[in-house]
């Protein structure tokens, strides 16, 4: 649906009279109907890259092909036609404060040349879909952040758009609202087959919604692939660091001090997590395995997890148990040695 061929974007920083390379040589393919996440820190170039898809940001070199059309080579009129098929939502929602909810959506339909009778019906349909029917006549100033984003999603989908660009759509929302907005985006993807490209600085958002992910740093594509693969076996140091804070847990100091025996950190990927590895091993070697901390989550319906386990028993049995664990899980690390 969208292909980036060696895309670079640089612009003049007027203040400092220098050239900023915002995006450097990115190549990428976004399959039709997928949810593609782009993750990276601030200044990584993800926002710039996203805007090359609808031509809000011209490329300096390379090509962006959307649905068979090369965006950089489109004329002004052709670009406007393409934009009518691409919806966009933003961190700060960007609804016009001077227009009601209904009129914000109506603008899109008028611009795309809909008949006025059809516009009215379409607005009702869209607002019902995002659960905002009763707010049609309200001004955006009266809505909460989550409600504004729902309206913005309705606005973005108004003209039966095929692609939805999401620029940090949940970064201004609390955790609960974030979850409901991400659910809605997933539903949009499922119900209408809309291809979603979403940028975020939060790995949690990627885990919750994306099929594939591109990790960006300093304008470069660090790595990309299926979310599960990138998250469970990150190849680059940058991705590992990005993931570290979501997969490292802190055991309180007094607990750490009072524990005797070894503490190991066990990483699970895929199949092994659902097997009763811990109980199997404990029974087989006659040792105690006390789970201190950890979490198992599901990415693309496959389990991924980290457990911190205190191994209690005689030295040989513990060593044998560790060997078994090492064979049956993704990774085990001893983080506290026996005294």
């Amino acid at each position: 649906m969208i292909t980036f061929n060696d895309v670079s974007v640089s612009f003049e920083d007027a203040g400092e009279a220098r050239t900023v390379d915002a995006v450097r040589h990115v190549s990428l393919h976004v399959p039709r109907g997928s949810v593609y996440g782009i993750v990276g820190g601030s200044g990584a170039g993800k926002s710039t890259l996203l805007r090359t898809i609808n031509g809000l940001q011209p490329v300096s070199s390379g090509d962006v092909v959307v649905d068979g059309q090369s965006v950089p080579s489109l004329g002004r009129g052709e670009l406007r036609e393409l934009r009518k098929e691409i919806g966009m939502i933003f961190q700060h929602f960007n609804l016009a404060e001077s227009r009601t909810v209904g009129d914000n959506i109506a603008f899109m339909l008028e611009a795309a040349g809909w008949e006025s009778s059809a516009i009215d019906k379409r607005i009702d349909e869209l607002l019902a879909y995002v659960n905002m029917s009763e707010k049609r006549g309200a001004y955006p100033g009266r809505l909460s952040g989550g409600q504004k984003q729902r309206v913005a999603i309705a606005r973005a989908l108004a003209n039966n758009t095929k692609i939805l660009l999401c620029d940090e759509p949940t970064s201004a929302l609390d955790a609960e609202t974030t979850a409901s907005v991400l659910e809605l985006l997933k539903k949009v993807n499922r119900d209408f087959g809309v291809t979603i490209v979403l940028i975020t600085h939060e790995m949690e958002v990627i885990k919750a919604i994306a099929d594939e992910v591109l990790v960006m740093n300093h304008g470069e594509a660090v790595e990309s692939g299926h979310v599960y693969d990138v998250l469970t076996s990150p190849k680059s140091e940058f991705t590992q660091k990005l993931l570290a804070h979501t997969q490292n847990y802190h055991i309180p100091d007094d607990v750490w001090q009072s524990i005797t025996g070894e503490i190991v950190r066990i990483s699970y990927h895929g199949g092994s997590a659902v097997e009763p590895v811990i109980t199997d091993t404990a029974t087989k070697y006659g040792i105690g395995m006390n789970i201190l901390h950890g979490r198992i989550e599901y990415i693309a319906s496959r389990p991924v997890g980290v457990l911190y386990v205190n191994m209690i028993g005689n030295g040989d049995a513990v060593e044998a148990a560790k060997a078994e664990l090492s064979a049956r899980t993704a990774k085990i690390e001893v983080i506290k040695h026996d005294r």
């Binding site: 609808n54 809000l56 670009l79 406007r80 036609e81 393409l82 934009r83 009518k84 691409i86 966009m88 933003f90 700060h92 960007n94 609804l95 016009a96 404060e97 001077s98 227009r99 603008f107 899109m108 008028e110 611009a111 795309a112 001004y139 955006p140 100033g141 913005a152 606005r155």
Partner: protein, 221 residues
């Protein structure tokens, strides 16, 4: 020492009408011309529309040149042009020309700032819709900027009333003319006071009206 009451009020009335006429005519012209100039300055500064540094700086320089001249000097300098445009070098009609030029530059700056203060994100969202620039400007930019524009029209109107008073020095008529010729040159304190009071009331009313309209729009949205 005071003249008869009907003569007095006739003088004041005539001057008020002249002031209102000069002010209204130049306000309307300058809001249209200055608004358009401010809009073009905004559009040529904004990459989402028609960014053009040279054109932008040219317009900005013209505005700055006009704004650097005190109105009195601009008026004397421009009056010969009035003869050309409105056919006379004296009276309210002649003063409208320099007044409009001055107020256009004044309002252009304020209008540009009003447009620039509209959320860039909102404009981006609507440019991304594929709508034409004209549609985005008319249906989004202008309504989103309307509160700031109204406030700045109020400021411009009050400044224009103030500047129109200087027309008295070139025989332009109006309250300033009256206060200068009778109040200052003939020591008619009553006329001077009347002019001062009327000007204060006019400005107060305009400010109240401007604030009232803005408050109503804000309350709605």
């Amino acid at each position: 020492m005071t003249g008869n009451i009907s003569g007095f009020s006739a003088l004041i009335e005539k001057a008020m009408v002249q002031t209102c006429y000069m002010t209204a005519a130049s306000l309307v012209c300058s809001v249209v011309l200055g608004g358009a100039l401010g809009l073009m300055m905004y559009l040529t500064a904004e990459p989402l529309f028609y960014r053009n540094r040279a054109l932008n700086q040219l317009m900005s320089a013209v505005v700055n040149i006009i704004r650097s001249l005190p109105f009195l000097i601009l008026m004397i300098f421009v009056l010969p042009l009035s003869k050309f445009i409105v056919g006379t070098k004296i009276g309210p009609d002649a003063v409208i020309v320099p007044l409009t030029i001055w107020a256009t530059a004044f309002f252009a700056r304020l209008a540009e700032a009003s447009f620039a203060a509209v959320s860039h994100g909102v404009i981006e969202a609507y440019v991304a819709s594929g709508a034409s620039t004209l549609r985005v400007v008319v249906k989004i930019l202008l309504p989103e900027a309307r509160i700031a524009l109204l406030k700045n029209i109020t400021v411009t109107l009050i400044s224009v009333i103030g500047s129109s008073a200087m027309a008295g020095l070139v025989g332009g008529g109006g309250l300033g003319d009256l206060a200068y010729r009778y109040g200052y040159q003939q020591y008619r304190t009553d006329i001077m006071l009347a002019c001062v009071v009327i000007l204060i009331i006019m400005v107060q009313l305009i400010q109240l009206l401007g604030d009232g309209i803005v408050a109503r729009i804000k309350k709605k949205q």
